[in-house]
């Protein structure tokens, strides 16, 4: 690939990105302009509040603030008085959550990779473990989070210092390990029979086969799993910090500002933009991992 072609490609990508954002702006403002202020409800009974089903959302300023108001709000004082512009706490809160999600992601990837490798090594472990791994993901996070918080507080009291953010990171890792474990198992089992037989004919043991054949072959399965894990870790961190009341993160900020949505409707959109940026940064960082491994990325499985 020549330099000129690659930079043209990059330009096109940037253009498409801009078009995407513009499309969202046009859709939002277009619907706000055209749609009825009170939305469209079908089957409403006269005099019976809350009857019927709303099929088109309301468009008035409390329900859908103008995008320009949301952006302006970012540069106005957060809570009145001398508080800094909203964008400052949004950025610090997003970075806090990103850091916790990153720790959660690392724990999740380590645990998931280990479980995947164990399951591939011993069929018995796969039979015993895989159903539990699947079942683990059906436990609702909001049920699991307070339990984890309580365990964390007990450890902090009796065993060793355990900051609250670590509980959040563990909860995030609980969501993150799953795609990695499954992706790792799939990936390590991906090499063709003929390649495994070749390694065996070289009298290569488990470890050389793992390092030279199975791990490289697992890369196309692992990268999408790592991306899913990043998305899950961010989601887990946001939900967990809301659920256990950890201060400083973007989820809690969102919840607090949402309580003021009647009198200050543009405010909750600040942290909403923050969490969107957070997800993009998380997914983008994992894409960087992929760059280093591009020699192994033939025939990558779709995420």
């Amino acid at each position: 690939m020549t330099a000129a072609r690659s930079s043209a490609r990059r330009g096109a990508a940037a253009l498409w990105g801009a078009v995407g954002i513009l499309a969202v702006v046009v859709l939002w403002e277009g619907y706000k302009f055209l749609g009825p202020a009170e939305g469209v409800t079908i089957g409403a009974v006269e005099g019976e509040t809350g009857s019927g089903v709303m099929i088109l959302p309301r468009t008035h300023d409390r329900a859908m603030p103008h995008l320009i108001d949301m952006v302006t709000r970012l540069f106005q004082s957060t809570s009145g008085g001398d508080t800094p512009p909203l964008i400052v706490p949004v950025i610090t809160a997003a970075l806090t959550t990103l850091g916790i999600a990153a720790v959660g992601w690392l724990i999740g990837v380590a645990v998931g990779a280990l479980l995947g490798a164990l399951m591939q090594r011993w069929r018995l472990v796969e039979w015993g473990l895989l159903p539990w791994i699947v079942v683990s993901q059906t436990v609702p996070l909001i049920a699991f989070a307070p339990v984890m918080n309580s365990i964390g507080l007990q450890i902090d009291r009796d065993v060793m210092p355990w900051p609250q953010w670590l509980s959040v990171a563990v909860i995030a890792s609980y969501l993150a390990f799953f795609p990695v474990a499954v992706g790792m198992l799939r990936g390590l089992e991906a090499p063709d029979r003929i390649h495994v037989d070749l390694m065996r004919s070289y009298a290569a043991g488990y470890w050389p086969t793992l390092l030279r054949l199975r791990l490289p072959a697992a890369v196309p399965h692992l990268l999408p799993a790592l991306r899913l894990a990043a998305a899950n870790a961010v989601l887990g961190a946001v939900v967990a910090e809301v659920s256990i009341g950890m201060r400083g993160g973007i989820g809690r900020m969102l919840i607090q500002l949402a309580g003021q949505a009647s009198s200050d409707p543009a405010a909750p959109w600040g942290p909403t933009f923050g969490s969107i940026a957070l997800g993009l940064i998380a997914a983008g960082s994992v894409a960087l991992v992929g760059l280093g491994l591009k020699n192994y990325r033939r025939g990558e499985a779709a995420a």
């Binding site: 409390r62 009145g80 507080l153 809301v242 900020m253 003021q260 009198s263």
Partner: protein, 387 residues
């Protein structure tokens, strides 16, 4: 052979039993030796039931003004909620030493789990819950709820509604109860006929919204307000709870009294200097707590309304037996939309005690602090968005 094995097992069991009894004896012994002399507790934590805001001004003022230090505490941590933290559960779990919670919610927990907690100070003497409807809705009293859609937050905030309805012979078959979020949009968008609001928070929030028809803020005349304080459903709200079993420990009981002394001083300061107290709380919220409270005028409104609930004529923090009984009666009568009762039997006598707050008040009176008195309300002018 088998016989000897069995005998061996029996011996082991006996040894284990002796060991356990001995262990029990030793712990009992240490308990009794503690009762004479104790090491004063210097670190305590208080679990709030919501985000930092002027509703909890007294505690933040006590922290800011050094009242806790004056009572011998080196460190007092105030733990906000606002997530899924249930104050009484945090107290039962031992995560905190004291907790702020509404009386009906704790009564429900006490009956459901069988734990024992004691209300050691009734901070709010009156209920601050409202049901707000549009002026044209014709909802002037609880009786008018019939066939209407009534909003409530749930999470134990709904029991006053059900108790008031039960008194009017209404239940969830004749009134549609629906969950509302913590903004007032459900009422403003007419998704509900009447929305739940606290005098000190959500009611102000509606009045901080611009009426699109006039271009001015909504005015109180635009709405009908049912105050649960005036109904049979009125229940006691913010109270300070302690672990009943731990109160046997003289060190904890002593800490409770000292804690209440500091808190009482904090609330007296908030009564006499509402502007300053609101500012202290607002500063604590935005700085120390990294929270996002509604702006300063909203906090002053809240401080003003909270003071009205606290200073109802009597001394600070004493549980009024009549109000307690009314709360229990309401709690026994209330049936929610799932057909469940909040409680089915009277709470244990240990559920409240005026012993500790009385000790605190007496000690303060000796120090020359006037612990009772009235509050002179301010006129707070709300602004758009509370800022």
């Amino acid at each position: 052979m088998r016989h000897s094995t069995r005998r061996g097992l029996a011996a082991i069991a006996a040894a284990a039993a002796t060991a356990l009894t001995l262990a029990a004896c030793t712990t009992a012994e240490t308990d009794t030796t503690d009762s004479g002399e104790f090491e004063p507790i210097t670190e305590v934590s208080l679990q709030l039931q919501w985000l930092p805001q002027a509703q909890f001004a007294g505690y933040y003022v006590a922290l800011d003004q050094g009242y806790f230090e004056e009572e011998g505490f080196d460190s007092v941590s105030i733990v906000p909620s606002g997530g899924d933290i249930v104050p009484q559960d945090a107290l039962v779990a031992g995560d905190v030493d004291f907790a702020i919670a509404w009386v009906p919610k704790v009564l429900g927990t006490l009956e459901a789990t069988g734990v024992e907690l004691t209300n050691i100070a009734q901070v709010f003497q009156k209920s601050g819950t409202l049901q707000v409807s549009w002026a044209d809705s014709g909802i002037a009293s609880v009786a008018d709820f019939e066939d209407k859609r009534i909003g409530s937050w749930g999470f134990g905030n709904e029991w006053e509604i059900f108790a008031a309805m039960a008194d009017e012979g209404l239940d969830s078959t004749s009134v549609s109860i629906t969950t509302q979020d913590f903004s007032m949009n459900a009422l403003l968008d007419r998704d509900v006929d009447a929305a739940q609001a606290m005098t000190y928070n959500e009611w102000a929030q509606i009045l901080e919204v611009v009426n699109p028809d006039t271009g001015e803020l909504y005015q109180p005349e635009d709405f009908n307000v049912v105050s649960y304080e005036d109904t049979a459903g009125a229940m006691l709200q913010d109270a300070i709870w302690a672990d009943t079993e731990r109160l046997e420990d003289p060190a904890y009981a002593d800490a409770a009294v000292r804690f209440l002394k500091a808190v009482t001083k904090g609330w007296i300061f908030a009564r006499d200097n509402p502007e300053e107290a609101a500012a202290i709380t607002y500063d604590a919220a935005i700085n120390a707590e990294a929270a996002f409270p509604v702006g300063p005028t909203h906090q002053l409104w809240q401080m003003n309304e909270v003071n009205k609930l606290i200073w109802a004529g009597g001394d600070f923090g004493l549980v009024d037996a009549a109000a307690w009984d009314k709360t229990v009666t309401g709690a026994l009568a209330a049936v929610n939309q799932d057909g469940l009762n909040l409680i089915t039997t009277e709470p244990a006598a240990s559920a409240y005690s005026n012993v500790y707050i009385q000790q605190a008040l007496d000690a303060l009176a000796e120090e020359g602090v006037v612990v009772g008195g009235d509050y002179t309300p301010l006129d707070v002018l709300l602004t758009e968005g509370g800022q």
